[in-house]
């Protein structure tokens, strides 16, 4: 298969920006950092596009970059929040207008609970339960083994269940 040349960067961006944005939004739960994230992902992708031999692997490759970049952002946000330099997010803001107040509240509660998880566990949980990815796909996206995915899911599930049962 022909490699994707640099001349195709615009096409790749236009075709996959919304996909990258969707993954980023679902993991972060907030829209305000989304533009930066998408740009960062494609800037990193731009450097490697010429080396990509299999165009069919493009989407999952972009997902891997997105997850890596999102984890960095989550860790940075957590540190900033620790020092009071980052405002807590109104997670309910990302809900569409058809969401009921209860659904908005549940979404916000779930994201606030996700804040307590290590970034890697949060990503795995969101990919599984929000994005609906298979364990194999998550392992590929997160560049780890399937058993690591399962372990992270179990830990995330346990923490979330504890956290949300207090509500």
């Amino acid at each position: 298969m022909a490699p994707v040349g640099p001349v195709d960067f615009d096409r790749v961006f236009r075709e996959h920006a919304a996909y990258v944005a969707a993954i980023g939004l679902k993991i972060m739960g907030r829209d305000d950092d989304l533009d930066d994230l998408v740009q960062e992902v494609f800037i990193e992708a731009h450097r490697g596009l010429r080396r990509l031999r299999d165009p069919g692997a493009l989407k999952s490759w972009l997902a891997r970059i997105t997850v890596r970049r999102t984890i960095r952002k989550l860790r940075r946000t957590r540190v900033l929040m620790l020092f009071g330099l980052e405002a807590p997010s109104d997670y309910a803001e990302i809900a569409d207008t058809s969401a009921t107040p209860d659904e908005r509240a549940q979404m916000a509660l779930a994201y606030r609970s996700l804040e307590r998880l290590p970034a890697a566990e949060r990503v795995v949980w969101v990919l599984r339960h929000v994005e609906g990815e298979s364990l194999d796909d998550i392992a590929q996206i997160c560049a780890c083994s399937k058993s690591t995915v399962q372990r992270r899911l179990r830990l995330a599930q346990k923490t979330l269940a504890q956290r949300m049962s207090h509500v």
């Binding site: 640099p6 001349v7 960067f9 615009d10 961006f13 236009r14 920006a17 919304a18 944005a21 969707a22 939004l25 679902k26 829209d31 989304l34 533009d35 998408v38 740009q39 494609f42 800037i43 731009h46 450097r47 009071g84 330099l85 980052e86 405002a87 807590p88 109104d90 997670y91 309910a92 803001e93 990302i94 809900a95 569409d96 207008t97 058809s98 969401a99 107040p101 209860d102 659904e103 908005r104 509240a105 549940q106 979404m107 916000a108 509660l109 779930a110 609970s113 949980w125 339960h129 929000v130 599930q157 979330l160 269940a161 956290r163 949300m164 049962s165 509500v167």
Partner: protein, 377 residues
């Protein structure tokens, strides 16, 4: 609610809305390209032609009658006051005085297009990735990427203020995205650096801009510096604008518009503390100006989120409501005042403010955080 994967939670997650459309893709593509170019990691020049064709294709597509799905078109009615329009998707247009006029160009499934033919209007838009919301003023096109903004007709163009979200403004010869808290005149006058005085040239090549003196700004500046500052600031080149400002503070005259530009240049180039004197002057000296509520709101945000001065931030947000009690920023200001009061340790005040918010905006978009900071959870 003990199971985080329960049906209720999963159902709630299905309501996540990614507001990502063609315009946002194009904006980010342009910015990514710029960063790549600056990084020197690409040999391929950006194809302006492709972008132009893309935009032209998008515009043509939108204008084709067949491309619109009449079945999904929202309905529109005049609001009860007779000073605005209400759309069935929840969006609204409000005229700000008797002489203002707006006409409906198109209300379709994929686009709502309005033309401001006189005066000033405020537009509150419910985001819909499948539909654009556009306000036309002569050759200027203000396209909504976010939710709340104001457009004022001027003799030669329009003045746009963004209270929440983002708008994209296009005019013959340029385009720009305005974010929350920003204002600008359009079309922008381009005043590229010409023959600058030697002293100013020196000041602009310094790698880091020094802090601005908080003193009043009255020293006269050369007209070319002022024009350059305004051109840079209105085009969003804040770091350069700020360097011009620090080299010659007199580039800012005492008008509210220039003060707002100076505040934008300072805060958006990473100097939030230096932005506050400008905003305070607007609030102090131009309280009846349309920019005053926005200046107070921006001041509050800087004090709260960037300078860690919540007590002062709470007072700034309170001022927003005092200046314009029923303005477009009032609900957000009340919510943020609640947060600021809580962070300042003023728990009773926070609780009272939260009660006021819940009573006045029972379905407000910041209800959740207000309840939290009002200690109702």
């Amino acid at each position: 609610m003990s199971d985080p994967t329960s049906e209720g939670v999963e159902k709630a997650f299905r309501h996540i809305q990614v507001n990502w459309d063609v315009a946002r893709t194009e904006d980010n593509l342009r910015l990514a390209r710029q960063k790549i170019r600056r990084g020197g990691r690409t040999r391929i020049a950006v194809s302006a032609l492709l972008l132009g064709v893309g935009i032209a294709t998008g515009v043509s597509y939108r204008l084709l009658p067949g491309a619109r799905e009449a079945a999904r078109a929202p309905s529109v009615v005049e609001d009860s006051s007779g000073h605005g329009l209400r759309f069935s998707d929840g969006s609204s247009a409000r005229l700000l005085d008797d002489r203002s006029q707006v006409e409906v160009v198109a209300v379709a499934a994929r686009a709502i297009d309005l033309r401001l033919t006189a005066g000033r209007g405020e537009f509150d838009v419910v985001p819909d990735p499948g539909r654009t919301f556009t306000v036309l003023v002569d050759g200027i096109v203000v396209r909504v990427l976010g939710t709340r903004f104001r457009v004022e007709r001027e003799d030669r163009g329009a003045y746009v203020s963004v209270y929440r979200g983002k708008v994209q403004v296009r005019w013959p010869g340029g385009e720009r995205v305005l974010a929350e808290g920003q204002t600008a005149h359009f079309p922008e006058e381009v005043a590229e650096p010409q023959a600058l005085p030697e002293a100013e040239r020196t000041s602009t090549v310094e790698p880091a801009a020094p802090a601005l003196p908080a003193a009043e700004i009255s020293r006269p500046a050369a007209p070319v510096s002022r024009a350059r500052f305004r051109a840079l600031a209105t085009r969003g080149r804040y770091a350069e604008a700020y360097r011009v400002l620090t080299g010659a503070p007199g580039v800012v005259d005492s008008g509210a518009e220039d003060l707002m530009l100076a505040a934008d240049a300072a805060r958006l180039s990473g100097h939030p503390a230096e932005a506050t004197p400008y905003l305070e002057r607007i609030v102090r000296q131009y309280r009846s100006d349309v920019r005053a509520p926005l200046a107070a709101f921006t001041l509050g945000r800087i004090l709260l989120y960037e300078l860690g001065r919540p007590a002062e931030a709470a007072d700034a947000f309170a001022l927003v409501r005092k200046i314009l009690p029923e303005g477009p920023l009032s609900s957000d200001a009340l919510a943020r005042e609640t947060e600021a009061a809580y962070r300042a340790g003023q728990r009773e005040r926070a609780r009272g403010l939260a009660e006021a918010y819940m009573a006045k905006y029972p379905t407000g978009r910041r209800l959740e955080s207000v309840r939290r900071y009002g200690q109702f959870e």
